[in-house]
Symmetry: C2
Subunit: 139 residues, 2 copies
C-alpha cells in the first residue's frame, strides 16, 4: 500500500482526498479504464485514452508505484512489457462504474450519435469488479 | 444537462471521459464532497477542501455551469449566496462513496492517527445518496 498520511492533506482529513492524491489525475483514471477493458500494451493504452504518449508513460509509472498496475514482461530480445491491474487496481472499478453511470445520465446527450459505441463498457466493468469478501468486516 | 459530445473526446467515446471533462478536476470533486457534507458557504468550502480561494471560486462557477451545484441567495444588503447540490449533483455521491471506500482500503494506513476523523463521512454520503428510481429502465 502507498499510504497518504491524512494529516498531510489540505482540508478535511478524508480518504476521498487520499484517493485523488494517488489516482485522481484525469489520465490516470482513463489509463485504469483502458487496462480494465483489455488494453494492456503501451500503444493500445495511448489509443484508448487519447492522451499524449509522455503523459501515458508518466501515469503508467505513477500507477505502478501506487500498486494499481503491475508491469509484466511478455517478450525478451527486445524486452517488452505490458500492464495489468493489481487487486488494488481491480478495486478501483466501482469508481469507474460510478463515473460511467453519472456520465451516461448527466454528461452525454441521449441522442449522441456515438452512444452505441460504449454500450458494452458498463457491462464489462461490472463483470470485472471483484465481489466484496463476505468474511471481511466493514470498517 | 451540459452534454459533452462523445466524438469530441480524445480516445474511446465513453461517458467516463465525459464525466471527467465536467467534474474530473481534483478540487471539483472535493467541492462536491464539502457541499454534500453540509458546507454551503464559500468560506466553509475553502476550509473543508483546503484549496486556494481562487481555485474554489473557479470550481464553484464551473460546477454551477455544469448543473451540479445551484447558487442561492440567502441574504440581501449585502447580497450573499451559498451553494447546494442539484439532483444531478446528488447523483455524484456514488462516485464520492467509491473514491472513499478505495481510499480507506488502499490509500490510508490502517494505523493513521487521523483515521477516526472521517468515521462518519461514509455514512453521511450514503445517507444522502438518492435511491435509484425503480420505474426508470436501465439504459
Amino acid at each position: 500500500m502507498t499510504a497518504v498520511p491524512l494529516a498531510q492533506l489540505p482540508g478535511r482529513p478524508c480518504p476521498v482526498a487520499a484517493t485523488l492524491e494517488l489516482v485522481g489525475e484525469r489520465w490516470s483514471l482513463l489509463v485504469v479504464r483502458e487496462v480494465a477493458l483489455g488494453a494492456h500494451r503501451f500503444g493500445e493504452i495511448v489509443t484508448g485514452t487519447g492522451a499524449p504518449r509522455d503523459r501515458v508513460a508518466a501515469r503508467l509509472r505513477s500507477l505502478t508505484a501506487a500498486d494499481v498496475l503491475e508491469r509484466r514482461q511478455y517478450q525478451s530480445a527486445p524486452d517488452r512489457f505490458d500492464y495489468h491491474l493489481t487487486a488494488s487496481g481491480r478495486d478501483l472499478l466501482p469508481v469507474l462504474t460510478a463515473l460511467l453511470v453519472w456520465g451516461r445520465d448527466h454528461a452525454v446527450d441521449p441522442d449522441d450519435p456515438d452512444r452505441h459505441r460504449y454500450r458494452d463498457t458498463l457491462r464489462l466493468l461490472r463483470d470485472r469488479t471483484p465481489t466484496p469478501d463476505p468474511t471481511q468486516e466493514p470498517r
